[in-house]
Symmetry: D2
Subunit: 296 residues, 4 copies
């Protein structure tokens, strides 16, 4: 038996970058949280503390800021590809890189009915994400969104589930359905109009959640992914993670009161957690696209 060094990666996490574009009076803001990680020949650092191959995480951070100045940010997928390829191109022993980005949205503050040119308020409605993975000459892009909290006050049932000794839940033909969507979709290639895809996929996720009469959160999840795939041939698969944010009807009968689907308790823990993948049967292999991506 010998002890060996296995899977590994390292990098700088959560580099907070805000870039202002001032080429007109109407400023643009880009607000990112960027994490980088590298793979390659880093065994010597681990086994004997030889750092000749260790591109410092401080250098990785500097590169994020410098690239924002040199090349701009633009679409986060492009920014991630540029950063990832830089690390694998410029350092022989770096064979892989993963760039994870969250983008925070900002709305322009309306003043007298017009959008202000340089004052913003933080937008709600979830956070845009991307994970760009580089392995030698190959690149994969998995984009998505997280913390998109949605709720339906009707149009959701949960019935017909199996009952065993430990089942006490009743059948429910009209319940609140609420979740905070995390969705990630793998693009087939890298020649994509990322912003356009993102905007439309987000719209589809919201609309399909809204319109689908739900017999189970699982069914809603599948429908949402299916609608994305039908409209977006550039997407190979969609993975979703959707907590069932339970809203329990409060029993008011001890107080002599009715409660016909009016008053609910919004619970924190525990929560259901439904996770699933909807994919094309002819999609190219995922390769390393999902490596190190939190999920299932």
């Amino acid at each position: 038996m010998a002890i060996t060094f296995g899977d590994n990666q390292y990098g700088k996490a959560e580099v907070r970058l805000v870039k202002i574009t001032r080429d007109s009076d109407r400023h643009q803001i880009e607000d990112l949280n960027v994490s980088t990680s590298l793979r390659g020949d880093f065994a010597a650092a681990h086994t004997v503390g030889d750092n000749a191959h260790v591109v410092a995480t401080d250098t990785q951070k500097n590169t994020v800021y410098a690239f924002a100045q040199q090349y701009g940010v633009g679409q986060i997928e492009d920014f991630g590809l540029r950063l990832g390829r830089h690390f694998t191109d410029d350092f022989d022993w770096v064979t892989g890189a993963q760039i994870r980005i969250e983008e925070y949205g900002w709305d322009r503050i309306p003043v007298d009915g017009a959008d202000h040119p340089h004052a913003f308020s933080r937008a709600g409605g979830g956070t845009r994400t991307t994970v760009v993975t580089i392995d030698g000459p190959q690149a994969w892009v998995v984009s998505g969104l997280t913390d998109l909290t949605v709720l339906k006050s009707t149009g959701s049932e949960f019935t017909g589930f199996p009952r065993d000794r430990y089942t006490s839940l009743g059948e429910d033909r009209d319940r609140i359905l609420a979740t905070a969507v995390t969705a990630r979709w793998r693009y087939i290639g890298t020649d994509v109009d990322w912003d356009k895809s993102y905007t439309d996929i987000r719209r589809i996720l919201l609309e399909s959640f809204a319109v689908k009469h739900s017999l189970a959160l699982q069914q809603t999840l599948y429908y949402m992914g299916e609608q994305v795939l039908q409209a977006h041939p550039e997407v190979a698969e969609v993975r979703m993670s959707m907590p069932n944010k339970h809203h329990f009807l409060v029993d008011l009968s001890p107080f002599g009161l009715p409660n016909d689907r009016e008053v609910y308790y919004a619970a924190d823990r525990p929560y259901g957690l439904i996770e699933g993948t909807v994919m094309r049967d002819d999609a190219p292999d995922a390769g390393r696209a999902w490596q190190a991506v939190p999920g299932f």
Copy 2:
């Protein structure tokens, strides 16, 4: 010397209430986090464990849910007044009550250009709050908002501050100004169209942040409060707590790069914290309005 019992209060914190109004196909959602606390003659519980006066916190929670069914929620200030007065009216030894409410906003999901009647997404742009304090026959209402995150990419300076041995900060004639506004305003009475006041005050806070050329975050704070008071005679004073969410220009010169107010690092800690009150000089005394309200 003797040991005595001083200031005290107790109650149920963070009762999560969601109320759905289904009187038409276009459902209404009200989503609150309600905390109640009582004051009065509770000494015996403390000194000898006699609970004859202790309205159970579980009962307080039940009352929140029951009242939502019996009377509806409506404007959160009215809901708070009704709850607070119930406790002081119904229990002789309860002389005071404070009801603190956060209200989470929901937007209707747009489908094919129309708002969906029963599907919602959680709104951004801060959380509406109220603190209703009852003391015997008196009542005070302090409403507000929190977590309203805003940013200006220009129109902010910070110069002319004093320099001592420990001062290294340079003068800055064009910096990013960012904060997460917590504002609380005390109403003069309780006969107010709360929703209308709230909506307009929120608009004023946003607009005045946007349009005011800022020589200091202190100046912005004062201006925001002043604008509220000038437009809203029903408001006696405004208290604001505004962290200075620093955005530092990254020094790219070691990499041979310029950085003319383009690339910033958004810092977490430490942060400046500016807190101040803007008030009418003829406002009625605040009484217990600010009792136990986090602030300064």
Copy 3:
């Protein structure tokens, strides 16, 4: 009517300071989170953006770090007094200062049965705090601890509380009692062996929670404060804020199972919140000691 400027303060929040003392091979570590705020004549900054009086929050941060080097940290109360007095002494228009400090504990890592001289692990058991308030020549010290999570698996009852229409809670003669103690005690003077007081008061809080048969969390709170006052003449009053972290017995009867105080669900929200003050009847006036301290 005129609009005026009321109560205010500003400063730098959450300066994270770690100080290593290396005067022997056995290093000492001091790990603090320091927040400073100033009061005084700051009206001009607010009303006209004149910063001539605004000691920059960046300068305040620098002062924290510089003082740690110049004078050491030592007992956090002394560090707070030194910082606070510096601001009021060195700037004529600064009439008041408040220094809030959290101190994080570290244990030495045991190696072969001996404490390691320079390797540490973060301690549990709550965080030590102090709030030092300076107003002209006067100074007050309110020290305490927070996040001290404790639980008793028996020796706690809750019975005899009043019942109204909204009461459904049953009497309970043997329940779990759990809380996360926040306690703050006001010292009568500033000539105190702070570390010694802190250590013993923390011990008393833990022991008195443990040994007191509890008829209500209120009674436990009072007893804990009383024990502190009886043993510590240097303390004028103790204020405690104790959430009732509910542990509900799970109803296993639908599954044909007993549950004789064995299996509990630890709930998050809502929670009871019990807050009270125990004081000496001959204590000196609190002055500004509690100004801006979160509480009740």
Copy 4:
């Protein structure tokens, strides 16, 4: 092209279970956060909303509580195996299960030098974890710990790293090294004295962090894993995720002050993130042991 259903799982997350054992006056407390997820034939729920196979997440929660009563908790790995096998054994279409458990430690409160029999304070020093994965007749156990925060005030260097255009970091021969260890180790079988292994592995992780002179956090990570494997033949591999919690020496020279490794700023973001695996070369294949485990 057709759209198909891919990888998926669902279950109940964060079931908070506290179990008190009262078979003597000296009570035992077990405090867990249990998450369950199932795999198998769940396609119909997704595609047509047929829930005949959907073991309700509410039922899964009930099972956790009921099993605690029926069989006790004991070592969390055994509790996880029992739960996981129940789901795959009792429901034909459930082919896989994963049980994830966090265990929170409690210390007995000392009173007059003796441990109290039924009063506890929450322990620090990290949280014990396990992930039990069942796939048909196979079972894997990956145990670990998280949030074990440690710091060395000397004995850590970082030098010899490559320099490119974006490198500004200086060589450092004596820095603070701090991290919050998340470690997970895969056991070779399931016939293990889990508590004994856990206790000793935790000790080794702490000691090896303390004693290893560190040339890179990578080297420390590898050394820690190597020491575990050398002492524990029942462990196949160790995966660690260690943020580099940067402590930056504050530049006090603008204030005319030295700073010889005394005064540090503890930064939040960004942070380095070092992740690696140390394994036996003759270890059995990992199978599904790491499926859905957050990592790299």
